[in-house]
Symmetry: C2
Subunit: 239 residues, 2 copies
Amino acid sequence: MPPIKVKMLDSGSAPEGGEIASVGAPKGRAKLRGKPLTRIQREKQDVILEAALDVFSEKGFLGATIDQIAEAAGMSKPNLLYYFPRKEEIYKRLMTSMLDIWLAPLRELDSVGDPVPELRSYIRRKLEMSRDFPRQSRLFAGEMLQGGPRIVDVLEGDLKALVDEKAKVLERWMDEGKLRRTDPYHLIFSIWATTQHYADFDVQVRAVLGRDRGGEGRFEDAARFLETLFMHGVLTKPS
Amino acid sequence: MPPIKVKMLDSGSAPEGGEIASVGAPKGRAKLRGKPLTRIQREKQDVILEAALDVFSEKGFLGATIDQIAEAAGMSKPNLLYYFPRKEEIYKRLMTSMLDIWLAPLRELDSVGDPVPELRSYIRRKLEMSRDFPRQSRLFAGEMLQGGPRIVDVLEGDLKALVDEKAKVLERWMDEGKLRRTDPYHLIFSIWATTQHYADFDVQVRAVLGRDRGGEGRFEDAARFLETLFMHGVLTKPS
DNA sequence: TAACGTTTTTTCCAACTGGTCAAATTTCTG
DNA sequence: CAGAAATTTGACCAGTTGGAAAAAACGTTA
């Protein structure tokens, strides 16, 4: 199973020179397009992406400003613009590189394994991602909230394909009587929803749990609860 | 059980005149503060709030502009500003009036009823809210994503109180052996997460389910799945 | 060290932002 | 209908926004 190719709409404005080669210098002002990146370029891009993740995840794409990102990255706005000529470019880079690791747990849901430990560990790993990469989760959630204009292609393409594949795995388990027969798509949705909730709605979770239970231990509590929920539901008398 | 008083930080910049009465005209330019609203005022405010809900839920607080709201409401920016002197005022009004109906299903979770139908209907009603008021759900989710700066007070106040109360109900049911013993708070979180997911991540859900299964029927599918999940979990062999 | 490519800074801009204000218009009330 | 109150408009403003241009500073290597 090849790693999902998380290709965005396109990785930059169409390559210089259309059908009829436009004479003269490239119009897109493609400053660092000649591929091999220098050390400094790699380093600075990383710094920028890290800063951008902070700002974008907190303010959303529209709410974030280049100035804020530049300041968080410790450089001037024109300097940042030297590495990423447009705001959207940073955002897209962030989104692609993020989706890749974000979907890793699902990709590893193994069809040859046993349903119980497989599902159990999938849920746990998803929850760990919420704990360890909350900014990425919020970035993605923000994009979804806005209707995913910069990412729909991936959703309908690679993501759907991956989910289709894993849904089949779940269905087979159901056929074999190892899992209760339910809708595999909604099962996946519910795992996503419950785990990501702890990153995306962190404020609410903390506020409701209060100072005593809202600390780091809340992830262990959540893990325990979700395991019970998904394995047995909340009823005492099983049907 | 009195209806939650969903009071925001405060319902307008502090009433004119501080401790030491500031002489002269009110500085806050309190145009329509003398309470009894005219017919036009009520109508226009409704139109504005409706338009603002569209724009805010789509772009977030920061991403939305007064101009966009004004255009969606079919009036000029200064005219809109005549009814709501600041952008944040619209947002807060929206949030308060929304939270009220948003929490209604939880409020109605009845301690005297039987756990099974009570929980079942709570889940269904929450899911219905996601279907019928997706913009409100997204508005709230967006606020959460940004750390809820304009709403933390409510979360830590009335919301926490309500959840505390209902958690006790759940706990009693567990004591009586009517519910499996688990964490009631995380149970509530998981119901919120799974149901609101269908509003907040609508694009993703549609994209993954595809054209055939992404239609209106998806809510019935979700309802069936969630009922099974919460009641029995996904295992065939109950422990 | 001279020349060259890379990186950074300074300056600038046009469009947009939230919001004000006074004047003009409409609606309501007697 | 007159007059007052409520509503709407057009002009305006200071600050911010994403981004462009060019020049300056820097680093590297012959």
